[in-house]
Subunit: 206 residues, 2 copies
DNA sequence: TTGCTTACTGAGTACCTACTAGGTATTAAC
DNA sequence: GTTAATACCTAGTAGGTACTCAGTAAGCAA
């Protein structure tokens, strides 16, 4: 019989999936705040009410935690975007008879992002940090940029003279606007700013 | 007489201004690589062939080092931009009869940036990192964004219907393009990409 | 009730963090 | 040649870093 166990009982013991999800959400917030280089496993653990080894049990290491967060966000975003466009997820970027246009997709993307500044900041910070070749998300963001440009290009292929060029500019403008918005959310409304930008970018000459 | 002094003699003793400049250059490279949160004073000192206290002697603290780097870069950039435009520095953003147009300034900026990817990366990383309110460069980048938008707005004031809107879009597009360029320098040429983007952005409707 | 799985803990490792105190050696001014 | 300024050093502080190890107890199935 022991009256004072060295182990705490006030700590909730969660099922793995649930705990993992909590860790990913927490990490998202902290990376948005401090970047990956500034992320501390201690802070993540504290934020989840765990010890550091307790949370490493679920994610393995700091690097694999980052990868997990990115994959988690990608899934969530694809789901949400498909929903906003009224499409099933698997059909979002599928080939075949085109169902959506580039301006429609952009508009949906921006409206989605306007609802989750925290996540936009996560990607903004990691997008810049991961420019360095040694960064654990370097390959991920390189692939992501390629994929995005390919998808955007495909969406306006046939409609404009230079679909690739347009894709590059659309992606750049969206990213840039988001950063300005994050810096001064009071001054800039993301959706309005984007619609104005889209009007200029997508207008046909002549 | 002592045959083995504990002090090293192989270490160059530089005048303060020169050493300080070296430290700022080194820090620029390292922040571009790892961000400010990932910057280690040890690495800066190593890169300069100094001990950590030896280099702290010149810059005081990590935070003040960051500020010094940003100020140093601003000066350099203003000098270089004025030169590219064939203007004296003090006249760059001065009032009075307008001498340069927004497209001209942008073109000069982009041409300058294409020559120094390292510094562009420094700003890209810090721009994202500093979105967090607690970041030591938070205030700096907020002011910088305001200043840039004001300057861009003034440059096309009177020429277009919505100078502020255009300024926001120009700034966003430049930033976004630079990140894409930094990620895939082999694939994207910054100057070409910008000229194409400018052509679309600045063309008059009708 | 037993036994297995597993979520989680405390303690510890080896190392890095910015920064300070106090001293030495070099340089420049006189 | 002497003195004053200063560039830079060694040593140390107090704390943080990711991560490992071995063990404990909660939950579930039989």
């Amino acid at each position: 019989m022991q009256t004072s166990s060295p182990f705490r009982r006030d700590r909730a013991r969660l099922p793995a999936a649930e705990r993992r999800r909590q860790i990913l959400e927490m990490t998202t917030r902290l990376i948005a705040e401090r970047g990956f280089w500034g992320l501390s496993m201690q802070d993540v653990a504290d934020g989840c009410g765990l010890t550091v080894p307790g949370m490493l049990h679920h994610v393995g290491s700091k690097d694999s935690l980052l990868v997990a967060v990115l994959e988690y966000r990608d899934e969530e975003d694809a789901r949400s975007l498909a929903e906003k466009l009224g499409l099933p997820v698997h059909q979002l970027w599928a080939e075949g008879p085109r169902r959506v246009t580039l301006p429609e997709v952009c508009s949906a993307l921006v409206r989605r992002n306007a609802e989750q500044p925290e996540i936009v900041r996560l990607f903004a910070v990691l997008e810049a940090e991961s420019l360095a070749p040694g960064h654990p998300a370097h390959a991920y963001f390189k692939a992501r940029q390629r994929r995005t440009l390919d998808q955007f290009t495909a969406l306006s292929d046939g409609d404009v003279a230079d679909p690739r060029e347009l894709a590059v500019q659309v992606a750049a403008l969206m990213d840039g606007l988001q950063i300005q918005w994050l810096r001064e959310p009071e001054t800039i409304d993301l959706v309005t700013a984007w619609e104005a930008a889209a009007a200029r970018l997508f207008r046909v000459p002549g």
